[in-house]
Assembly symmetry: D2
Homo-oligomer: 429 residues x 4
Amino acid sequence: MLEPTSIESKPITQTESLSTRFQRVRQFTEQLCQTLEPEDCVVQSMPDASPIRWHLAHTTWFFETFLLVPFEPQYSPKHSEYAVLFNSYYNTIGQQFPRSQRGLLSRPTVAEVWKYRQRIDALVISLLERLSGDPELDAVVELGLQHEQQHQELMLTDIKHLFSCNPLFPAFQSSADHVAATRDTRDTHDMKWYSQTEQLSWFGHDCKGFCFDNELPRHQHFVPSFQLAHRLVTNREFLCFIQDGGYQRPELWLSMGWHNVQDQRWKHPLYWHRQADDWLEFTLSGLLPIDWDQPVCHVSYFEADAYARWAGCRLPTEFEWELAAKKQSTSGNFAESMRFQPIADTGPSNGIHQMFGDTWEWTSSAYAAYPGYQPAAGALGEYNGKFMCNQFVLRGGSCATSASHIRKTYRNFFPPDARWQFSGIRLAQ
Amino acid sequence: MLEPTSIESKPITQTESLSTRFQRVRQFTEQLCQTLEPEDCVVQSMPDASPIRWHLAHTTWFFETFLLVPFEPQYSPKHSEYAVLFNSYYNTIGQQFPRSQRGLLSRPTVAEVWKYRQRIDALVISLLERLSGDPELDAVVELGLQHEQQHQELMLTDIKHLFSCNPLFPAFQSSADHVAATRDTRDTHDMKWYSQTEQLSWFGHDCKGFCFDNELPRHQHFVPSFQLAHRLVTNREFLCFIQDGGYQRPELWLSMGWHNVQDQRWKHPLYWHRQADDWLEFTLSGLLPIDWDQPVCHVSYFEADAYARWAGCRLPTEFEWELAAKKQSTSGNFAESMRFQPIADTGPSNGIHQMFGDTWEWTSSAYAAYPGYQPAAGALGEYNGKFMCNQFVLRGGSCATSASHIRKTYRNFFPPDARWQFSGIRLAQ
Amino acid sequence: MLEPTSIESKPITQTESLSTRFQRVRQFTEQLCQTLEPEDCVVQSMPDASPIRWHLAHTTWFFETFLLVPFEPQYSPKHSEYAVLFNSYYNTIGQQFPRSQRGLLSRPTVAEVWKYRQRIDALVISLLERLSGDPELDAVVELGLQHEQQHQELMLTDIKHLFSCNPLFPAFQSSADHVAATRDTRDTHDMKWYSQTEQLSWFGHDCKGFCFDNELPRHQHFVPSFQLAHRLVTNREFLCFIQDGGYQRPELWLSMGWHNVQDQRWKHPLYWHRQADDWLEFTLSGLLPIDWDQPVCHVSYFEADAYARWAGCRLPTEFEWELAAKKQSTSGNFAESMRFQPIADTGPSNGIHQMFGDTWEWTSSAYAAYPGYQPAAGALGEYNGKFMCNQFVLRGGSCATSASHIRKTYRNFFPPDARWQFSGIRLAQ
Amino acid sequence: MLEPTSIESKPITQTESLSTRFQRVRQFTEQLCQTLEPEDCVVQSMPDASPIRWHLAHTTWFFETFLLVPFEPQYSPKHSEYAVLFNSYYNTIGQQFPRSQRGLLSRPTVAEVWKYRQRIDALVISLLERLSGDPELDAVVELGLQHEQQHQELMLTDIKHLFSCNPLFPAFQSSADHVAATRDTRDTHDMKWYSQTEQLSWFGHDCKGFCFDNELPRHQHFVPSFQLAHRLVTNREFLCFIQDGGYQRPELWLSMGWHNVQDQRWKHPLYWHRQADDWLEFTLSGLLPIDWDQPVCHVSYFEADAYARWAGCRLPTEFEWELAAKKQSTSGNFAESMRFQPIADTGPSNGIHQMFGDTWEWTSSAYAAYPGYQPAAGALGEYNGKFMCNQFVLRGGSCATSASHIRKTYRNFFPPDARWQFSGIRLAQ
């Protein structure tokens, strides 16, 4: 069992050398697999999720394909078939084994994939020792690390989903810390509202340090005056919505959301379980009593939007969120704590809390190109731009995101019915 | 057969009395059914389309439910079951017969529905004679007329889709006019670009006259500088895209669009047919040779977006479109001409052409609430707001839209894979 | 409204000339359409059912294709596209418009199809006047008439299914007779059992008069001793099964049947409706109180089999049925009575009742070739043999079958989940 | 890698004690798993197949549930949740984890299941030492062993299917023996026909020794005269069918089979692969060149039936097969050889060959109850009878069946579209 407190990771910082950071990011992936059996690593619980083994191989293939092949003249991939098996969606590179069938592959085994990782890691480190400093190469390594961190979060959400399908409810980690962390937080503060007057402001990344292409270009946007809730919506508040018939009242829902509610028979957030009069929640530490002060998590955009309407509020736009975030620090409850569960708000009574970490925050902004957006050239141009359709922007990272991965301008995106990410609700009005 | 030239409709204007306008709008619906057999009126060709008989009954039920029931104290619906059969999506009113099963209803017959219309029409006219001038009542009548005009357009697109499924390719109207109208337009002008500098400007309706709630509130939005094409993309231009492998090159497509291309085996716009070396197009006048100078029509957002990428351009945002439209007149090729087919650009060589009529123009703007948006109270609040998800805004009306229905601030919306509307492409850069 | 008693049909007999029989069979088809509106004739309520207009055209295409084309040298089909639209499943003839999309065709109109029928009828009658007596030609005409009678029954079952989907529950015919016929039959006799000792016997048609190829060749089969119920299972008896939890007890069902029960949420026969404490039944005369003495009808093989198991019995094999039928007359409640509803058993207390007419009787025999079976040559060989898979044999005809169509050796067949035919239950043990 | 020749199993015989047989059958299951990684044991490649780990646990649960629970008074299951996870389809016992989701379970791990097996095995052996000889107990043990042998065959077919989905084409065993066994068999004998005159004969098991309930009761059946092919159809012969357009000619197919051909795009037997001009076959030893003299294998009933029609023959009934088998020995190419691939006919030129082992032989008999059939009492009554619908009988066992498992009266059954079993073709006429 993972013992979270003892192994808390020290955040990776940009001051470390690229080679060091490469090794530390890659090691964190390994750390996440400590408690997993080979069996856990090959099963795919739904088309949106991937087997852990696939994540391990795909992130390695990414370095092989985008770093070793172009920058290491002698290099030729040892397993040519991995190009098909572990390419996610890069049509420019070639064909892909169908996403929904990733769970059909029992081979290569997990052990073979670990060997593949070790081999590629050694080659990358050797390459970095020789060529680090080349801006083009460094950019690919940087992107590869950011990419690996994204997959670290997906590994957590995918294994959580897989274990949740099993009536045995296996635990990914010990729950001791989970209980300890929440025992003394039984007093949720009333919602306060942070006000902002209208303004024409600049949004997007300033190009100092790494960012994804979808955070660019920096551009002006006019934001009318608004108010933003000082913390996330809690489980306790969301329970009121449920008890008030929230899942039975079509007038609270988007039309498409209401169809989801009926087709999928949604009655509560994804991992809640009702047992007689008790409510439990499936966590990475197994099935536990719900901590009512914790932020509600694993809700879809549809549920976030319906909750906001029920509360007489709305969700913020991504611009409102970013404007408010500008004045906040990016600290929070991130993956480095190895807790992997949002925690109750315990901050001081003034200021905006929980903007970073805990849960991704659904915004009402459809995921779209910023004015003047240009995807990267070549295959890596497929990274972000081609998904700008029928998805909504989430901001701020979650308890499964690395602190070294998040930024104020970071734009995550998922379809409005997605629930298996650590996604929660911040209100606006 | 409808003989278009002889029956061209005089546009309905706001200077006419509400009662006159009510009668003229309702008569136009009847006019559209002149060539239809009872059999044509009950079949549903796909879940997105409705049988003509359903449109006839639903628009009548709308006046009955939202006008007669609340404003005519003695009124009680004669056919209580129509409330279920002909309610579209108003959960506030009650249950609905499933949308995808509307084509299962052979009864009430078309003749019975015409009687229903006549009965309700007489009651509405009588009510209007007594109470017109009451702002609340007038507002409902106005909304009912706008609603009827929307369904007139849907009747045209739905019957076109139905007839297109039949290997006999029935014609809705005579094609004489079709040929005549396009014979002398064989010279498409090169694309010119209308430039606009960046500005913070006001968007949305000014509340003078009718508008839908989704056009409100009027608000400021910052628009960076842009260029807009002076006319729509033509069939000839779209053919170049096809011949250049447009439908086989994943790099041109949104990820979701590419899945559509492969799953649905899209190879050309919806109603194009390849016969040996010829291209034909199914129109409301039957299967005809493609007029290459006409604007391309019946393309999805995915195809519009891929075409724009192929052309090195992009689609405009709805704000860019509205900004450019502010200086244009709203005249164009509308439903009143009874032509129901976009026509080639024959305008003078300066200015922006075809902004109104011909084809709806896909914008890159996801359909979303304007800042401060409030849906109408009660059941009519379900009209627009609950669809603000996974749809894109289209602007400008089409050859199947009534001139009296369109506005510069008018926001139409459809999912990105919808092709059966008269939807086309205007480029921006 | 059809007034059944006034229009009862005189059975067609083999002593009439082929030309007379041709005209009478074709007229009976017309008679069945008396109360139908054009709208009723084009809608398809499910993939298994066809629109009435399709039946009218297909049976006509059958005579055109298999009679006029080969036997009338000058004949050339006027509407070449009908060959695709109205071919059911004859791959030898050519392609077919997809069965599940027959309901997409609003054209040709019903009126046009009636004209098509009149034109072909005139040509067939003229041909018969000249050439009747040619055994090959007579055989095709005979097959065409049998085929038409099969479609007459399907027209009744298909229109019943279509009307049952409509919340208005339209009536195909007046119900006056329905009530009259059943009022004085309130006393169901106890089940008696007809015993038969084991024997090696001959089965199948003796080739005197018409039969389908699947009734051949006449062959020997050994039948162990058995007992057969003297009448059909009644609605009253089937209600006991329901009230005893029949639809909730997996041990009573075939595995595949139990999946159907759960997936389709079967809780009673297809057309039963529970309203508060009452049970109603949708009939061709509309929604009526269930007559508990009538044979239960519109049950699938799965339900028949489960009922039999619950009753401690089983279904008969088709050989048991045929052996018992040999000594019975083929009279019964057939389509000629225009009643189209099974009636309660009122026969004398000895003998086997209801073997013919009322409801088709599910047997436990999978539909298979008799030893030595040879399908007919050419396209007509596709009539029966290619369906010998995953279907069960039904025997005896129903209230929707023509008396002149049924035989003791007649083998009908449907998949085990089919419910929309007039299918009922006779027990064996 | 499994090295087949070295580990050939000595057939288990009825003369061994029940305890010995129990241990040997259970050990053979373990032997089959020698080359499997944990990853291979949890993936489910399709709803019809189960993960190996599930087979291992289910067969153990069978002994626990039907033997230990009723016969060992003190016994109480240690893992109560296994009752849901590893119950296959016994509704009498309780709920089942959905069959199609068996592949979602990464826990219990394979190692945990092996421990479960060891624990149950020890308890069973202890029980047998004390109580063997009790006819009721012995009958359950016997059934459990037969059941385990059925699952051994399914393990082989399921792992073959799983590996066939992987572009790496993993090998379950070494192929050395495979090649050796077939090198000297390059001369297929012409088909000869075994003739049998008509007779009334007895069929079904005589109750000496074990049989399944579906082989009972022994009863008389009349079989007309017939001829049976002296060997199985070879790959070479089946290739002629393919090259003659067999998969493109609807007239050769059952209607439902033709739909399968088109929907599934069948063009050859399940595991054949065309590579340029070569044909390969996926085997448990990986992808190998096709041995044209081997019996064709992994064909559905639809393909077997179409092949027979193309060859101017038909498939035998199960009675014809059993009649012919009565005079044959039950020796053949069975699982004990650890070859798991049919081998070419090398027998003497007279007599009927390959009746047992090599491939299961599709018969034209729908799987149905014998006259007077009674399923076993209690939960075990769900073993066979409830599947008597839409399946066809196969006879004779395959190269994946244990010699000690097969009988002349043995009735296997699969749906007509199933291809993943070792199923082949014997012709009749």
